[in-house]
Amino acid sequence: MIGVMLSYVRVVDAVNRRVGRIMMYGLFVMMAILLWSSISKTFFLPSLWTLEMAQFAMVAYYMIGGPYAIQMGSNVRMDLFYSGWSVRRKAAIDAFTVFFLIFYLGVLFYGGLGSTAYSLGYWGTEPFSFFGGLLTGSEEIGRLERSSTAWRPFIWPVKALMILGIFLMLLQAVAEFFKDIARLAGHDIPEAAI
């Protein structure tokens, strides 16, 4: 059992690490868009798309980069008691409280699915069956939601990026849970560095 968990952890950690290491350069994508925005404004006509594009980039940056940030231990905890506990104790408590995190991410994920389904023209209340139906061909893509700006980009790509990010976050949260279980079982798993 622990073996399976540890392989899961290895895979998820590796995937999220790679993905995160790519996303971290998204910083320069945002920088480039914003610079282009100031250049085009000063020398040519201001562009329609820069601000919104930068917002999309930011969403991808923090959502998809989120799991890597968890690996790095960047997410603050209130450590009044926590910092004083032994590794074992931290693992025991975390292994329980991480379900709150998982729950939150689950609700976010579900909301994201619904919102993405809507952006693909599905107005019902069962996003899972819609996406399932898309695969089996029993559902069709309907009216595509557009951003209500003059640029009017389709919204589904950015919503899809969000659910991808939340999904990876969920995988990472589960990996953190497995790590705690392994720690409790006596395995030596390093804590995230700050």
Binding site: M24, M31, S74, M78, T97, L108
Partner: protein, 439 residues
């Protein structure tokens, strides 16, 4: 349950969950979701995600990674080393001079980054070992670095003021300008405190007779180090204040300028680049996920009518005067700040307080400065404070937890005095924005 009780219950649950040490955003988000599902009925499950759409449109948050990156470039590339050397030779010979110089260093660093993290990192890696080696008192030094670095969010650029600006719907430019004089005033008050303290107890900050033993020309040359931060500051602020570039564009220019400054000084190694980029992701993600969760929490809180309940509690039921209410709010902010995360506190509590402050007839720009100083205090006070947390992580072993806790006491005292002065004399904050934007 009445709405007040639900609100209280939500807060209490969140606090309890925070105390378990689970990640802050997870704790806040989970309580938001539980409340949404339990109390909201149909469609409640969509609110946490709707917050993500709202967050996406908060375009000023694009400045966050930019300012964070600026800070990391500074601390990782060692651009600040020269700055430190400058203060060393110029102030080293007086009692407490190095500590005073460190405050100066922190002010300059504050002008080049939007958070206090960079100041903490630079302080703990450059100044701290140096000061300890020169026989400075460890508590004095630890306090100086924590207090000094907290100026990062008061002196522009400031991420906290950007966040406040979004919530209070106030112009960032004016808020930033409003932070300058109080920031300098507070720095000056720190300096006065250090100077006095070291006059009374010279052993806390011994003078270094050798510090100034460098040729005059060298001394002058070192002053040049101070020019760079001012250039970076100007490259960002001048186009912004003049309206040539927008806020988010200016932040990108600032980040790029800091980057090129490091390149020009030959300090931008691959390692520096990689570390700065990676750390920027880490801190930005932390912020964004906390804000995301807190926005969801806030919307649900709002939907329950908690805002109205609190408003009527303050204004009608308690029947307090505007100043009493303001003081109560500041006190409650300080208390919450001691154990809540500052960002969450801002996103959740400020939407309740800010409209009330406005309705009571106070200036929201001025209040932004008060809020920021309160946040600075929150950063350093146990049980939970971000700077506190960094200090514990970065301090050498000879500095114990007790030292860290005790070290901040006098500085927090100074900050409270600054807060009171600003409350009594709003013009200290307001004259600069009034002057520049010509109200």
């Amino acid at each position: 349950m009445s709405q007040e009780n639900i609100a209280l219950f939500m807060f209490a649950t969140m606090l309890l969950l925070l105390l378990t040490g689970q990640r802050v955003f997870g704790a806040i988000g989970a309580v938001a979701c539980i409340a949404a599902l339990a109390l909201y009925g149909t469609g409640g499950q969509d609110i946490p995600f709707a917050a993500a759409m709202k967050l996406m449109k908060w375009y000023p948050l694009l400045t966050l990674p930019m300012f964070i990156f600026m800070g990391y470039v500074l601390s990782e590339s060692g651009l600040a080393d020269d700055l430190y050397a400058m203060f060393h030779v110029w102030f080293g010979q007086m009692n407490g001079g190095l500590a005073i110089g460190t405050i100066g260093l922190m002010v300059l660093i504050s002008a080049m980054n939007g958070l206090s993290v960079a100041g903490m990192a630079i302080g703990a890696t450059i100044a701290l070992p140096e000061l300890l080696r020169r026989g400075y008192d460890k508590r004095m030094v630890t306090g100086v670095i924590q207090a000094g670095s907290s100026l990062g969010i008061l002196v522009p650029p400031s991420v906290v003021l950007v966040l406040y600006a979004m919530i209070a719907r106030q112009p960032v430019g004016q808020l930033w300008l409003a932070g300058i004089v109080p920031g300098l005033m507070m720095a000056a008050m720190f300096v006065v405190y250090i100077w006095l303290r070291c006059r009374i107890q010279p052993e806390l900050g011994p003078a270094l007779p050798d510090a100034g033993d460098v040729p005059r020309a060298e001394k002058i040359r070192l002053l040049g180090a101070g020019v760079l931060p001012l250039l970076i500051f100007a490259a960002m602020m001048v186009p912004f204040v003049n309206g040539w570039t927008s806020l988010v564009e200016s932040s990108a220019i600032g980040a790029l300028t800091a980057f090129f400054a490091a390149v020009a000084k030959g300090r931008m190694s691959w390692k520096v680049f990689e570390t700065s980029t990676r750390q920027t992701l880490g801190i930005s993600c932390m912020f964004m996920w906390i804000i995301l969760a807190a926005l969801g929490f806030g919307a649900i809180f709002d939907g329950l009518g908690a805002v109205r309940a609190i408003d009527s509690l303050f204004t009608e039921q308690l029947g307090l005067s505007p100043w009493m209410i303001l003081i109560l709010m500041q006190l409650s902010f300080i208390i919450m700040g001691t154990f809540l995360d500052d960002t969450a506190m801002l996103v959740i509590v400020a939407p309740l307080y800010v409209p009330l402050v406005g309705a009571l007839g106070f200036d929201l720009i001025w209040y932004g400065v008060l809020y920021t100083i309160t946040t600075q205090i929150a950063y350093m006070t146990p049980p939970f404070g971000y700077n506190l947390f960094l200090m514990r992580a970065m301090a050498p072993p000879e500095i114990g937890l007790r030292d860290i806790y005790v070290s901040i006491i006098p500085f927090v005292g100074v900050m409270v005095v600054a807060l009171v002065i600003l409350m009594a004399f709003p013009q200290i904050a307001l004259w600069l924005p009034d002057y520049v934007y010509g109200k």
